[in-house]
């Protein structure tokens, strides 16, 4: 399956029947405009008729996920499932871990154990799990401030993430990064950036380094792929376009994953964007642009497989727009008053974990007890993580001046003519460096 069709026109799915009808007609803009009132992100009330239709039909006009067509074809062609039993359980466990972790964060925040800015990922788990579970350890993930679940999916232990959030010395960044700056070299998670858009060029650089190492340093097996996660608000930022250009120009092994949850704090995507269909920005720069239902982990996984495969084979970048939703506010400090309750209810009904569970039961991949056992296991993991974080020590005073430089001679020469860092009592000193 290739994305060549998606580079110029979207596939149009005939929603009344199971067969996929491919049409190459360009969607007239008037048609798109007329669909706007029923657009899911709109602040206007949803018309009851729309919601009652088939669950998969509730989609913007003719923009359809490529995998929808694939799935339809597959379903009618044979009885092949999209995932195996093991994969199903792995996906389920990862999503439940993400959800439970974020719920626990909210609890801990209101109890005062966590502080500062905390941005939770509830509702978007399908994107993180769908993409990151297809990556290798050596592949890179770059995220924004909403990075807890990306870290967990990439393999950073829950204990380390929780400790980091508590600001303890046992956190993945020894308490120096915090909620918005998760870094783990071992798992190739290189941030955690508070400035939206900042992570995109850094991710592009990581992809560049993968290509450089293969072609210039001749490390032939270096086919590492980079995933850059960011939101709909970021898709209007200049750096995003600069990197789409350079990634396509230099054919870098990167996938740009837009987690379009329709809201940037209180700014609706429609109010902020001249053309809200973000996937279209890919073809403008010479790469495929794909739109996928981000509440369905299996669809995300199908698209991710293709995009990551493309990058790994050296065919260049892909832009994937995942239509998703965050169940909670922008951050724990956000009163979340601007979003329409009907919209929230609509997406709550499309909870990705519930959807996966349904799929698993429908295809007899696992029993209810097995899933409950996983739920229980995750609860225990989290309790252990909180306990571990609670009991961990705060960073010692000497840690304040550590790691500012890789070469601490950067602190300069002291009044005695020797480098400051050579003084054994250097880190015990006062705030004046």
């Amino acid at each position: 399956m290739s994305f060549s069709a998606a580079t110029t026109q979207p596939l149009r799915l005939n929603t009344t029947a199971g067969a996929a009808a491919r049409s190459n007609d360009k969607v007239p803009s008037s048609l798109l405009m007329s669909k706007t009132p029923s657009f899911l992100g709109s602040t206007r009330k949803l018309r009851p008729g729309c919601v009652a239709a088939k669950p998969n039909a509730q989609r913007r006009s003719a923009v359809v996920s490529v995998s929808e067509a694939v799935k339809e074809k597959k379903a009618s062609a044979s009885t092949n499932l999209l995932i195996t039993r093991e994969e199903g359980l792995e996906l389920y466990e990862d999503m439940v871990l993400g959800r439970a972790f974020e719920d626990m964060c909210a609890q801990m925040y209101y109890r005062g154990k966590m502080f500062g800015f905390v941005h939770l990922y509830n509702g978007q788990e399908a994107v993180s799990t769908g993409f990151i579970k297809l990556t290798k350890q050596e592949d890179t993930v770059v995220s924004t401030y909403r990075d807890h679940v990306h870290s967990l999916s990439k393999g950073v232990p829950a204990r380390e993430v929780m400790s980091e959030l508590f600001g303890k010395a046992t956190g993945c960044c020894r308490g120096q990064g915090g909620s918005m700056h998760m870094f783990s070299k071992a798992h190739n998670l290189i941030g955690g950036f508070a400035f939206i858009g900042e992570g995109i060029p850094v991710a592009t650089g990581a992809a560049f380094s993968s290509k450089y190492r293969r072609e210039v340093l001749k490390q032939a097996d270096c086919d590492h792929v980079t995933l850059a996660f960011f939101g709909d608000g970021t898709a209007n930022n200049g750096q995003f376009f600069e990197c789409l250009n350079m990634a396509a120009l230099w054919k870098l092994p990167i996938v740009f994953v837009v987690e379009n949850n329709l809201w940037a704090i209180g700014m609706s995507h429609l109010r902020a964007t001249s053309d809200p269909e973000i996937w279209k920005k890919g073809p403008a720069f010479g790469m495929p642009g794909v739109h996928v239902d981000g509440m369905d982990v299996l669809k995300v996984r199908e698209v991710a497989k293709e995009a990551i495969g493309r990058a790994r084979r050296g065919e260049g970048p892909t832009l994937v727009e995942c239509e998703t939703y965050r169940f909670r506010g922008h951050s724990l400090a956000d009163p979340d008053e601007l979003r329409d309750p009907a919209e929230k209810a609509h997406y709550a009904a499309r909870d990705p974990i519930t959807a996966l569970k349904k799929y698993i039961f429908e295809h007899n991949l696992a029993s209810e007890q097995e899933l409950k056992a996983i739920d229980k296991k995750i609860d225990e993991v989290l309790e252990d993580a909180v306990e571990f974080a609670d009991e961990s020590p705060l960073p010692p005073r000497s840690q304040l001046l550590e790691n500012v430089f890789a070469d601490p001679k950067g602190f300069g020469i002291g009044p005695d003519g020797r480098y400051r860092c050579e003084d054994p009592k250097f880190t015990q000193g006062t705030a004046k460096v």
Partner: protein, 375 residues
């Protein structure tokens, strides 16, 4: 912006037009420099080019990126010949996307490559300053040492000749305020070569502030400078001229002015000690304070804006550590507190001249000339 640069450079022989500008601003430039017949000479441009060349050949992880660094041979010809030698995979011509390509450099540095990112002038670094500060300078700290960033940001800094307000700002003070960065400002060819090599080998982000008007200047260099392992330590200032009556600190082009001012002062019986800072962050406070304790008077000279400048920091440092040794208030000679004007005579007024340094030195030595009205 490119249009202006191209106009200035013409087609090829940049040195001709540059020298023309130089003569306008520094009438007695080369006459004062005396050198022994055995010493060899090197221009700053050649020093930088050779340093880049040698570091790229020694370590395949070093690569260059920036606008016009490849086929154009460098907007100021600093990267001349490197594309032919190392190929387009290691000398990357980028589109005009400072934020994007600086971030790409940082991301590559996260993975152990050693990018040397060129800004056509440091004024354009403002479009990428988020990456210099937030993703380069702070990353080692935020990741608690897991990820260091061995990147070098280099390019011309400060005023050139008649390039107007948006191309003339000095960024030394801004970058030097940020923990996690190292900021270097070479003056002579020896400085340029040694400090650039040190910067490329350094595991931390380094901001390397060159000066366009110095590129064509020739300096005598000793034989060891030509060695490919020649390196200068980061954080150590150099005493260019020893003296006992007054200390003058300067960096980049102002070192040349300070030396000339010292010659003039010598004729009037004031023996000035000139310190070439070389490293703005970390500042070599030890050398500065030792000198002030010897001479008891200090002038700081810089080209940038006066408020919160490098001179302000040096003054504070000296007051903190050597207050009892000062016999006169510290004088700051800095650029005028205005955006750089275009007209040649106004531009001359907006940048410190040799006479300003001489006047300030005399004031510090209580030799008449009341304080000029400060802008």
């Amino acid at each position: 912006m490119l249009g202006i640069i191209r106009q200035k450079l013409g087609a090829g022989s940049s040195s001709a037009t540059m020298l023309g500008q130089l003569q306008r601003i520094r009438p007695a430039a080369s006459a004062l420099r005396s050198f022994s017949s055995s010493a060899k000479e090197m221009t700053v441009r050649d020093a930088l080019n050779s340093a880049l060349d040698e570091e790229m050949s020694a370590d395949p992880k070093v690569f260059l990126m920036g606008e016009e660094v490849g086929e154009y041979q460098g907007a100021y010809k600093i990267t001349k010949g490197l594309l032919d030698k190392y190929g387009p995979e290691r000398v990357l011509d980028t589109p005009i996307t400072e934020a994007g390509f600086t971030g790409i450099g940082v991301g590559a540095a996260y993975y152990g490559l050693k990018p040397v990112v060129e800004f056509m002038t440091f004024n354009f670094s403002m479009q990428a300053i988020d990456h210099i500060i937030n993703s380069a300078a702070k990353s080692n700290y935020m990741s608690a040492g897991q990820i260091n960033v061995p990147i070098v940001f280099r390019g011309p800094n400060g005023a050139a000749a008649g390039v107007g307000a948006q191309h003339s700002q000095c960024y030394a003070a801004w970058f030097a305020a940020v923990p996690g960065l190292k900021v270097l400002a070479p003056y002579s060819s020896e400085d340029a070569r040694g400090l650039l090599k040190a910067a490329i080998r350094d595991p931390d982000p380094v901001v390397f502030l060159e000066n366009e008007l110095l590129y064509g200047e020739s300096f005598p260099v000793s034989a060891e400078v030509f060695d490919s392992s020649f390196c200068l330590p980061i954080g150590k200032a150099k005493i260019e001229r020893e003296g006992k009556d007054i200390t003058i600190t300067a960096f980049s082009k102002m070192v040349g002015y300070a030396l000339q001012a010292a010659e003039i002062l010598a004729k009037e019986g004031i023996n000035a000690e000139v310190i070439n800072l070389r490293s703005i962050r970390p500042l070599d406070r030890a050398t500065i304070n030792t000198s002030v304790r010897k001479t008891n008077r200090l002038i700081t000279v810089e080209e940038g804006f006066p408020q919160h400048g490098v001179g302000a920091e040096i003054c504070a440092s000296v007051v903190e550590e050597s207050f009892g040794y000062l016999d006169a208030p510290v004088e700051r000679v800095a650029g005028a507190d205005v955006p750089m004007p275009y007209a040649a005579n106004l531009e001359r007024l907006a940048v410190p001249q040799i006479e300003d340094i001489v006047r300030a030195a005399k004031r510090a030595c209580y030799r008449s000339v009341p304080l000029a009205a400060s802008a």
